[in-house]
């Protein structure tokens, strides 16, 4: 068989062998898993299988017109608009709306529905449309909807997904808050391409600043509608009525009506009108307070079903034959022995070779029975990486033009001190504990895939494109997922499972092995950063030139005051597949900038905190620096050998962070231990303080790995440390005493918090190591093999 043959070997169908699909014994107990894993009570309000069958796929002209509401900007005026990272924007444009308004109540039952219309560019980019490839035939302005049924149950539909960041809970809190209902009345239907409106994806810390206000506006509109209903019934003015605890009451007469009573027998659908006021944070009642994770009990009892836990009837288990190295092409594959095995399905489609079988051992045996020859191409190793990135970088494309103000030459000429340094940041893996996984099921030419992805609609598009079927025949459902950290934007496992299931004519589950995770996923980009700066006699920055090769533009702008700047991101051809990661390049750029600021402070003989403050006017960043420093007790005097203290901070995606670290260097072994971390975070009004604290502390613990020891090693197109035994992630013993101070700015709309708290720790630790030893480390990870105390470059 030649390499470019595209052959679908349907072993069972073509050879007349017995059906390989698993016996039907699991059918009864497993059937419920075919729906979106039921949230408590959610099955009472909708049956996703029934919805799938009932939904018309295309949109009528009539309903399109209905959807074209005119809405003004949806973004709070003070909200900083983050630029999506370039690899996030590579996701294909997609416009989607399956549910016609007139069919909505058939599915949802009687009640009151509010459709959020995304008319402004930014919200539309998030959830309704995109600038490129605009498809005029599809409505693109619905971004979420909300329904109140005649039991008073509020169901919210959003394309966002829950991956451990607790957005299911915080979005529900915002709705409960705005609608004046208890949190327990709110059900969230998330990340299901057949049920929820199009959403670009859950990334970029966008759910809280963009989705939450949308849902609040929908809830606020629903509340107004309920008030109007009650007012009409009581022949009074809505302004005299009060909404609270799921009821409308008339203080004058003492009459009350529950939302359930008001929704009874109604089929009221409203577009979200303009300019609905959102309850200010100072008046929040449900939001602004800690609320436990929704359905938490299901997680401590093992009952929650993640994608790998789904077991539909007749399920087969799939595995892919992986190439021996990146970019290898298949020369030949002898499939005969595997094909001859009973119950085994083998697929070869171009270079894709995979098997499916009803049991673990059968899959392993079939895969090892395939003899394949691959052609590999020479590739660079991790040792040669950074010169390679610089050499293979480009500049000049519009979006990467240098940002320039003033004149670097003039700035340097006026400086008393000059400094120039370069920093490197290694590729690291997300290593989500739930590996990429998917269950695919074909039924009557339609494909349903359950998969843990941050971009259900993006994966729907990938599936439609790869399998050459219309998008409306593909449904992607995202069960609440075992973490992602930016690593689950693509649908690799979904494509593999779908292709196998297509051939097998049974549902197929693919769960990537840890080694596959470490090899065939994508990585946080490695990068090289070069900085040049000048300092005046009085410790002011006179020039700032900053070049980032490959790792990205997030957090690349300096928050410090400097008139003469040249800042540029240079895209490079990466030897490894790379993509999004928690905080994106903000970690790399902050590591370089905040280490360099520390070096400058040393040159100018100024305390590192004082030096930053001297060059900083942003009041929010100043506030977190002051808070972290005060709580930590900055400046601290060393009381023992090997002790050191460091500080770093920054702003990204409208979140402000400052982090202090205390480290201890073992004088014999050179091992570095982080002893204490104090971090202050401010992201506007806090929606869920306990959830935020969990995110902030969690981000810092995750950051320990990238700061100290995580690095992907590769040679000849292979990852050399593709196992937890060789790729060290933070464990209990690595975790320092760690405290977080959260500043609650009720006067500022909330920003996302899943990413930015990660950026301060690496430079704080690097600066502390310098403080302890005089050794300046300029590469992440800082001490994968401990510190060489003989070396000194101070």
């Amino acid at each position: 068989m030649s390499a470019d043959d595209s052959v679908d070997i349907r072993t069972n169908a073509q050879s007349g062998k017995s059906n390989p699909c698993f016996p039907d014994k699991q059918a009864a107990e497993a059937r419920h898993t075919l729906a979106q894993p039921a949230r408590a009570g959610a099955e009472n309000v909708l049956n996703p299988s029934a919805v799938g069958a009932a939904l018309p796929i295309t949109q009528s002209a009539e309903s399109r017109n209905l959807l074209k509401g005119s809405n003004k900007a949806r973004v709070a005026p003070e909200t900083f608009i983050p630029e999506p990272e370039r690899y996030e924007l590579r996701s294909n444009a997609l416009h989607h709306f399956n549910l016609q308004r007139r069919d909505f109540f058939k599915v949802m039952g009687a009640g009151i529905a509010i459709f959020t219309v995304a008319a402004d560019a930014l919200t539309a980019q998030e959830s309704g449309t995109r600038h490129e490839n605009r498809d005029q035939d599809q409505p693109k302005d619905i971004s979420s909807w909300l329904h109140i049924n005649d039991d008073g149950v509020v169901t919210v539909f959003t394309g966002k997904v829950e991956v451990g960041q607790n957005t299911r809970t915080t979005l529900a809190q915002s709705v409960a808050d705005e609608l004046r209902v208890p949190l327990s009345s709110v059900r969230m239907v998330m990340g299901d391409t057949a049920l929820t409106p199009f959403d670009m994806g859950t990334f970029g810390s966008r759910s809280t600043p963009y989705m939450s206000p949308q849902l609040r506006r929908a809830a606020s509109a629903a509340r107004d509608l309920l008030l109007a209903q009650a007012a009409a019934k009581w022949k009074t003015s809505a302004a005299k009525l009060v909404a609270s605890e799921g009821k409308i009451s008339n203080p004058a007469s003492g009459a009350t009506l529950t939302y359930a009573q008001l929704a009874q027998g109604k089929t009221l659908a409203h577009d979200l009108p303009d300019a609905d006021p959102i309850t200010p944070a100072a008046q929040w009642t449900v939001a602004g307070k800690s609320a436990p994770k929704l359905d938490a009990r299901a997680f401590v009892t093992g009952q929650h079903q993640y994608t790998p836990d789904l077991r539909p009837a007749r399920l087969l288990y799939g595995q892919v034959l992986r190439p021996p190295s990146f970019g290898a092409t298949l020369l030949s594959a002898d499939l005969a022995a595997a094909q001859a095995m009973p119950g085994v399905v083998v697929v070869r489609d171009s270079d894709f070779v995979a098997v499916a079988a009803p049991a673990e051992r059968a899959v392993e045996k079939a895969l090892s029975a395939i003899h394949a020859e691959w052609k590999s191409t020479p590739q660079i190793s991790s040792n040669d990486l950074y010169p390679y990135l610089k050499k293979n970088s480009e500049s000049g494309a519009d979006h990467q033009k240098a940002r320039e103000t003033g004149s670097i030459a003039n700035g340097l000429a006026s400086a008393a001190h000059h400094l120039e340094q370069s920093y490197t940041v290694a590729y690291i893996a997300h290593a989500p504990l739930e590996p990429r996984a998917a269950v695919a099921d074909w039924n009557d030419g339609k494909l349903t895939v359950w998969t843990g992805t941050q971009r259900p609609f993006g994966v729907q598009d990938e599936l439609a494109s790869a399998l050459h079927i219309p998008k409306d025949r593909v449904r992607v459902i995202v069960p609440d997922t075992g973490s992602a950290y930016g690593g689950k934007h693509t649908g690799d496992a979904a494509l593999e499972a779908a292709r196998l299931a297509q051939a097998a004519r049974c549902p197929v589950k693919i769960v990537w092995s840890r080694e596959e995770e470490f090899t065939w996923a994508y990585f946080r980009p490695a990068g090289l950063i070069e900085i040049k700066s000048g300092l005046s006699v009085d410790g002011k920055l006179t020039a700032w030139e900053f070049h980032n090769y490959n790792s990205g533009g997030s957090g690349i702008q300096t928050p410090y005051d400097v008139a003469n700047q040249r800042i540029q991101f240079h895209e490079a051809s990466s030897p490894l597949r790379q993509g999004s990661y928690r905080g994106l390049a903000a970690t790399a750029n902050h590591f370089a900038r905040e280490s360099f600021m520390d070096e400058l402070a040393h040159v100018g003989q100024i305390d590192p905190l004082q030096f930053r403050m001297k060059n900083l006017s942003d009041p929010r960043l100043r506030a977190v620096f002051e808070s972290a420093a005060n709580s930590f007790g900055w400046p601290r005097k060393k009381t023992q050998l090997g002790q050191g203290f460091g500080i770093a901070g920054g702003v990204e995606k409208n979140g402000y962070v400052a982090t202090c670290a205390e480290i201890a260097v073992d004088q014999n072994s050179g091992s570095v231990r982080v002893v204490r971390v104090m971090t202050t975070f401010e992201c506007g009004a806090i929606v869920n303080p306990d959830g935020l604290r969990n995110q902030v502390i969690g981000a810092n613990i995750m950051a320990l790995g990238g700061a100290l020891f995580e690095a992907i090693e590769f040679e000849n197109g292979r990852i050399s440390n593709a196992r937890f035994a060789h790729y060290r992630v933070p464990r209990f013993r690595d975790v320092p005493q760690i405290e977080a101070v959260l500043i609650d700015r009720k006067d500022i709309p909330p920003a996302g918090a899943g990413e930015t708290p990660i950026i301060g720790l690496a430079p704080a630790i690097g600066n502390a190591i310098f403080h302890a030893t005089g050794i300046r480390l300029r590469s992440l990870p800082l001490v994968p093999r401990g510190l060489n105390l003989q070396k000194s470059n101070a």
Partner: protein
């Protein structure tokens, strides 16, 4: 090996039909539907698949069905009794000791095993017992707090019984 293999699982006698060389993890999850026990690495490094085998914490990805034959197994599904959470489960809930919660089953099983051996562990002993369990979300301090809460609760309960 002749005939199907049996084991006592969460207090009930169960029969495995899987090939005896099948990993215990796969058989528990896919054959018996006990999917609370998770796959995280397949190399015994992450602890997500931890079960109790004759009372001791073991990595089910490193065991075969044959290894488990005739033994007693407790999985995360076996801790809740008559709708009452195990004190360790309750403590994880109270402390909010999870984010994505994929590691939670393994953390709870490892913690139960620790507390069976050592009713009042100090922080270093908790860290030691959980060192083989990976949490990628960084919930470690809350997990340690949960184990401490559970130890207190179980201690109190034992006292009440006496």
């Amino acid at each position: 090996m002749a005939g199907p293999l049996h084991a006592q699982i969460n207090g009930k006698s169960r029969t495995f039909e899987s090939d005896p060389e099948t990993t215990l993890l796969f058989a528990l999850r896919e054959e018996l539907g006990l999917t609370g026990t998770k796959y995280g690495c397949g190399e015994g490094q992450c602890g997500a698949c931890t079960i109790l085998l004759n009372g001791a914490p073991r990595r089910s990805c490193q065991l075969s069905v044959a290894d488990a034959a005739g033994k007693s197994i407790v999985t995360i599904e076996g801790f809740e009794q008559n709708g009452q959470l195990h004190p360790v489960q309750q403590a994880f809930l109270d402390q909010g000791a999870f984010q994505c919660a994929y590691c939670t089953s393994g953390m709870i099983v490892s913690s139960v095993a620790l507390l069976q051996k050592n009713a009042n562990p100090n922080e270093a002993e908790i860290v030691q017992a959980l060192q083989g369990n990976i949490c990628r979300c960084g919930t470690h301090p809350r997990i340690v707090a949960a184990v401490r809460q559970a130890a207190k609760a179980m201690h109190g309960r034992n006292h009440e019984r006496r």
